[in-house]
């Protein structure tokens, strides 16, 4: 609490007025805020004031501002609480004494708290002004004051609480008394009513008027008793329940009056009858019940009050004894504390006096000792300075003012100066590199804190001439003439550092080298082994160090080592040579070795350093290149054609043996020739342009005549491809002799021409034959028929002109001649028709077969509806074919069918189609003579007939014609028959179905 004392209060003067005003404002503000809070929380607390809340702002104000603000806060609280919080609100009156008690306690506590805090402030202010001496007495005084104040507060509380407890007890006793009176009154009322009833009954039985006396008394008494009861319960919340009794009693009394009147006026019987209704008894019972309820309630009230009374007296006792005891205890504790403090301070005073005496003695002793020591120190310093001057290390001293106070000669030398002035009095930081300054400064601060020494560190220093050096610095601080000074020793280590660095660098180079770096002594024992050696040979440094170098040399080369040793002993280096060494796993590797002697300072050879490089890969690559070269040479030489390689200038770089053989030029001549020199005439330009194309586009090819040395020209096919050799574009290619191919080509074209000629020849022959054939058939058509017509015509003329004169046989002969001639004519016609079929060109089209059948019947001059033949014409699918030829097919087949069924009484000819294996099959069926299936193969031959001419006329060409037409349509024709049982002719037109 003490340390958190607010600043404004501490200064009572100067700024005090202002801070006081602030304290007052704070007091009012906090109080009003609390009031607001309390009002805001009204719902939570109900009508209980909870004034304890207001202690908080009072204590705060008193604590912050002392008496004045505390009292202001208390006053404002008391007034505002009375007006706003305590019932009745908005009035300064008190409804309940208990509230008043609380309010009073708050007021008193507030005043007390203010007083107490004021005293605290005052004592604190005193304490501050008087130094730290009275802290203890302040504590004691505060305890005493606080204790007494608290005791007073307790006593005040007790007095107030006792007063209220007592007045409460008095009130309760009055209430108890009143309850007893109410009970008595109720009992009296009940007995009065009973008396009235008894009187009525007596009168009813006897009819004696004297019995009515108690009734009349009761009439009068009841009014008084009821008003007494009313008075007693005046102001009580249950007063109205007593009012309910009044009408009941009134009714009962009226009924009693009525019964009496009935007895008086109508006699005993009527009264008895009225009594027997039970009305009177019911009313009486209701009154009794109501009174009993009231009595029970009153008794309950009484018990409650008695227990409240007991409780209140317990509280009063608790307040008196508890408060008294607490006050006593506080006073007792305060007394104890005071006593103890006084005793303690007395003891402390005695101890302090003794200690002061002892201290003075020791100060005296110490002073003497210091004087002695100072003398010794001066002596020692003199000696030390002498020593410092002699030291080979730079030594300087930094005084407490952080300036250089002393420097020895070695120091001046290190700083590269002769004058002390350049160093003394300057800040030591001036001599350190900016990178180091922060570090140095920090260390100086540590050294100036207390005597201590600092271990050796490396720092960069700047000398008087500006040179930067690396220095080792050690420092220590010690007390000198009462102040701390720092002694610094430093040493220039620049050279040493550089040496270390170069050694480290060398080691790093050796270690990082991919080559094996090995050293050995003169006995051939390995003494060092780097990482490269580990990689190349497979031994770790630990494994191989100490073993002879001959471990690495293959047995068959072991003599090499003695040669090397002898050279080394003479001090000769061995510049690099290639040899073979053995790895840890026994495999041999190709290596390149360089050996240099190691000499000591005196120039004696003490060993050798070997640098070994693994050149296995390089060797392998060399072997690979050699192999590749041999391979390509073999390939080039074995090429069947000529091979060449030349540069942009046409200079031949390489060629194969075959080139020389074919061209006839020697190698020496070749070197002088240009590629173009191997061509003649127009080829020169063509080849030159293709060569240019190769260099421009990458590749090309050409056929040209290769001209040999002796002028022979051979057809060749040359290729060229651009390649880059050593950064220069060259042309590489081969030439192949194509004379054989040329010859073959010539032969082929000759053969072709021959073939063509022969085809033409054959064609014209065929054309001629065709023409002849045409002329022949024309002649047949024209010339053969003319004589027949003559025969027929003149036979007819004979018959017409001389018929009657001729004998019967003569006429018959002439008829036979005519028939023969006509038969011959028909034959010729059919044959010509048949011959024409092979020549006629066919025009394929969609053909309606149904229509063709109709047309054929018309051609045959048959009317199907009006014929002795029964035509059954089925519906036929269309087909693709030559309509004219197909018409002939139908004509021939139908005429055959009609012809061969002509002898039937009922001839039937049927046409139709069926689908067989995907093809449409047309058929013509008759029920005529039919034929023997054994001769079916002869059916379609020219002039082949299966019937005798006198039975059925015909030329034997009709079916041959039909077959030829069907075949020309790619179809097939066949017949099925049985002799005398009719025949069926089937045909298809294409092996495939119509599209």
């Amino acid at each position: 609490m003490k340390t958190r004392t607010p600043t404004p209060i501490r200064d009572s003067n100067g700024l005090g007025v202002r801070s006081r005003l602030i304290a007052y404002a704070l007091a009012i503000g906090v109080t009003l805020a609390t009031l607001g809070l309390r009002l805001w929380l009204s719902e939570l607390f109900g009508d209980r004031p909870v004034l304890v809340l207001f202690l908080l702002p009072i204590i705060l104000s008193a604590y912050a501002g002392g008496l004045g603000p505390g009292l202001v806060a208390t006053l404002v609280t008391a007034l505002s609480v009375d007006y706003y919080v305590i019932q009745p609100q908005h009035s300064f009156a008190f409804e309940r004494p208990a509230d008043f008690a609380q309010w009073l306690i708050l007021l008193i506590v507030g005043v007390l708290v203010s007083v107490l805090n004021e005293s605290l402030h005052r004592s604190r202010r005193d304490g501050n002004t008087n130094g730290d001496e009275p802290v203890k007495s302040l504590a004691a005084e505060r305890k005493v004051r606080a204790g007494f104040a608290f005791a007073l507060a307790c006593l005040g509380g007790i007095v107030i609480m006792s007063y209220f407890s007592l007045s409460r007890l008095r009130e309760d006793a009055a209430l108890l008394r009143r309850s007893d009176e109410v009970l008595g009154c109720l009992h009296t009322l009940m007995s009065t009513i009973t008396d009235a009833e008894t009187a009525q009954r007596g009168y009813a039985i006897t009819g004696e008027k004297s019995y009515l006396e108690p009734y009349k008394d009761a009439e009068i008494a009841i009014g008084g008793e009821l008003s007494t009861l009313r008075e007693l319960t005046e102001g009580r919340s249950d007063a109205r329940s007593f009012d309910e009794l009044k009408p009941l009693i009134r009714e009962r009394m009226d009924f009693l009056g009525h019964e009496i009147a009935v007895r008086r006026d109508e006699g005993f019987a009527a009264a008895q009858a009225l009594t027997l209704t039970g009305e009177g008894k019911r009313l009486h019972d209701r009154i009794r019940a109501a009174v009993d309820v009231q009595i029970a309630r009153e008794l309950g009230l009484l018990r409650e009050r008695e227990s409240a009374d007991g409780h209140a007296s317990v509280v009063a006792r608790g307040v008196i004894f508890g408060g008294g005891g607490l006050a006593f205890a506080v006073v007792a504790v305060s007394l104890f504390a005071i006593t103890r403090d006084f005793a303690g301070s007395r003891r402390a005073e005695i101890a302090l006096r003794e200690a002061r005496d002892r201290l003075e003695d020791r100060v005296r002793e110490r002073t003497q000792e210091l004087e002695r020591r100072n003398d010794a120190l001066a002596e020692s310093e003199r000696r030390y300075r002498g020593l410092a001057q002699l030291s080979p290390h730079a030594i300087f001293t930094i005084g407490h003012d952080s300036r250089v106070a002393f420097i020895n000669k070695a120091g001046l030398k290190l700083f590269r100066t002769d004058s002390l002035e350049e160093v003394l009095g300057r800040s030591p930081l001036d001599f350190f590199h900016p990178d180091s300054r922060e570090d140095v400064q920090r260390r100086m601060m540590l050294l100036f804190e207390k005597p201590r020494s600092m271990s050796l560190v490396e720092e960069k220093m700047i000398l008087t001439d500006g040179t930067v050096i690396q220095a080792e610095v050690a420092a220590a601080s010690f007390e000198d003439e009462g102040t701390l000074v720092i002694q610094v020793v430093c040493q220039d280590i620049t050279e040493r550092k550089q040496a270390e660095l170069s050694v480290a660098r060398l080691a790093a180079i050796v270690e990082s080298s991919e080559d094996a770096v090995i050293s050995k002594n003169l006995d051939g024992i390995i003494t060092s082994w780097n990482h490269g050696a580990e990689v190349i040979f497979g031994y770790t440094a630990a494994e191989i160090t100490g073993r002879p170098i001959t471990t690495l040399i293959p047995p068959d080369l072991i003599e090499e080592e003695s040669f090397i040793q002898s050279r080394l002993k003479r001090g000769e280096n061995l510049p690099h040579f290639q040899t073979v060494r053995v790895k840890k796993d026994g495999t041999c590797i190709d290596v390149s070795v360089t050996i240099s002697v190691i000499k000591d300072r005196d120039g004696r050879v003490v060993g050798a350093s070997k640098v070994v490089r693994d050149i296995t890969e390089q060797k392998n690559a060399e072997r690979g290149v050699l192999h590749e070269r041999n391979f390509s040479k073999a390939v080039v030489d074995s090429l069947p054609g000529v091979f060449y390689l030349y540069d942009r200038n046409g200079r031949f770089l390489r060629w194969n043996k075959n080139f020389e053989t074919v061209s006839g030029y020697s190698a020496a001549e070749m070197a002088e020739l240009h590629p173009i020199d191997f061509f003649n005439g127009a080829d020169k330009e063509r080849v030159a342009s293709r060569i240019a194309e190769v260099f421009a586009k990458g590749e090309s090819a050409i056929e040209a005549s290769f001209v040999t040395k002796n002028g022979e020209e051979i057809p060749y096919y040359f290729t060229g491809k651009r390649i880059s050799l050593d950064g220069e574009d060259c042309l590489v290619g081969v030439g192949i002799d194509i004379s054989a191919r040329r010859q073959a080509e010539a032969q082929v074209s000759e053969l072709n021409a021959d073939l063509e000629r022969r085809v033409l020849e054959r064609t014209s022959q065929l054309e001629a034959a065709n023409k002849e054939l045409e002329a022949f058939s024309y002649s047949v058509s024209h010339d053969l028929r003319a004589p027949l017509r003559t025969v027929d015509g003149f036979s007819q003329a004979v018959l017409e002109d001389y018929g009657p004169e001729l004998p019967e046989d003569g006429r018959r002969y002439l008829h036979t001649i005519r028939r023969g001639a006509q038969q011959m004519g028909a034959l010729i016609d059919d044959l010509l028709k048949f011959a024409r079929l092979s020549r006629a060109t066919m025009e394929f089209e969609q053909v309606d077969m149904n229509r063709l059948v109709q047309v054929a019947l018309i051609d045959l001059r048959i009317n199907p509806d009006d014929s002795r033949v029964d035509f059954r014409l089925g519906k036929l699918p269309p087909c693709l074919g030559d309509a004219a030829l197909l018409r002939q097919v139908w004509v021939n087949l139908l005429s055959n069918a009609v012809k061969y069924s002509g002898r039937r009484e009922k001839a039937v000819v049927e046409t139709g189609s069926q689908t067989k294996e995907g093809a449409t099959v047309y058929f013509v069926k008759d029920n005529g003579a039919g034929f023997d299936m054994r001769y079916a193969d002869k059916l379609f031959g020219v002039f082949q007939r299966l019937h005798r001419a006198e039975d059925y006329e015909g030329t034997g060409v009709g079916l041959a014609i039909v077959q030829r037409i069907v075949h020309r349509h790619g179809g097939r024709i066949w017949a099925e028959s049985e002799e005398d049982r009719g025949a069926t002719f089937y045909f298809t037109l294409t092996s495939k179905e119509m599209p």
């Binding site: 024309y778 058509s781 004589p787 017509r789 015509g793």
Partner: protein
């Protein structure tokens, strides 16, 4: 000359048998008057164009119809047809080819040259007679030729 001036039918036929049969058929059909017969193509052309033996004829006196065989000596029947149809004076004369040839080639060429009818001579004499008679009737009696004035 007078006779020739009234020639109504020119029959060009080299075969004497066919000629006799044709004349017999015409005669049987009562077509006997004013028939001139030429035995080859040249003679037929001479008659029609009034040349040679027929130089005295008037070219305007044209026959009503020419029955022309195709296979003729000297000048072929088709040539005769071509010349008749090529000359405006004779173009109007109806020409009926009467031949043994059933060759399509002949038929097509004849029609291309402007023939008026093409009859194949049948072997059967009755048919032949009927064909000739029908032709004669049609061209001589029924058909009204265009008069060249």
């Amino acid at each position: 000359m007078n006779e020739t001036s009234s020639i109504e039918l020119l029959l060009v036929e080299d075969s004497p048998q066919d000629l006799e049969l044709a004349l017999r058929a015409l005669r049987k059909g009562n077509i006997t008057n004013r028939i001139e017969v030429a035995r080859d193509g040249a003679e037929a052309l001479d008659f029609l164009f009034c040349r040679g033996a027929y130089a005295a004829r008037s070219i305007t006196d044209v026959p009503k119809v020419v029955l022309l065989d195709l296979k003729l000596p000297k000048v072929d029947g088709l040539d005769v047809l071509r010349q008749i149809k090529a000359d405006p004076r004779t173009r109007a004369i109806p020409v009926v080819v009467l031949t043994s040839s059933r060759e399509q080639r002949d038929l097509v060429e004849s029609y291309e040259l402007g023939v008026n009818s093409y009859i194949v001579k049948p072997v059967n004499f009755e048919s032949f007679t009927k064909a000739v008679q029908d032709l004669g009737l049609y061209w001589l009696l029924l058909n009204q030729p265009r008069r060249v004035e």
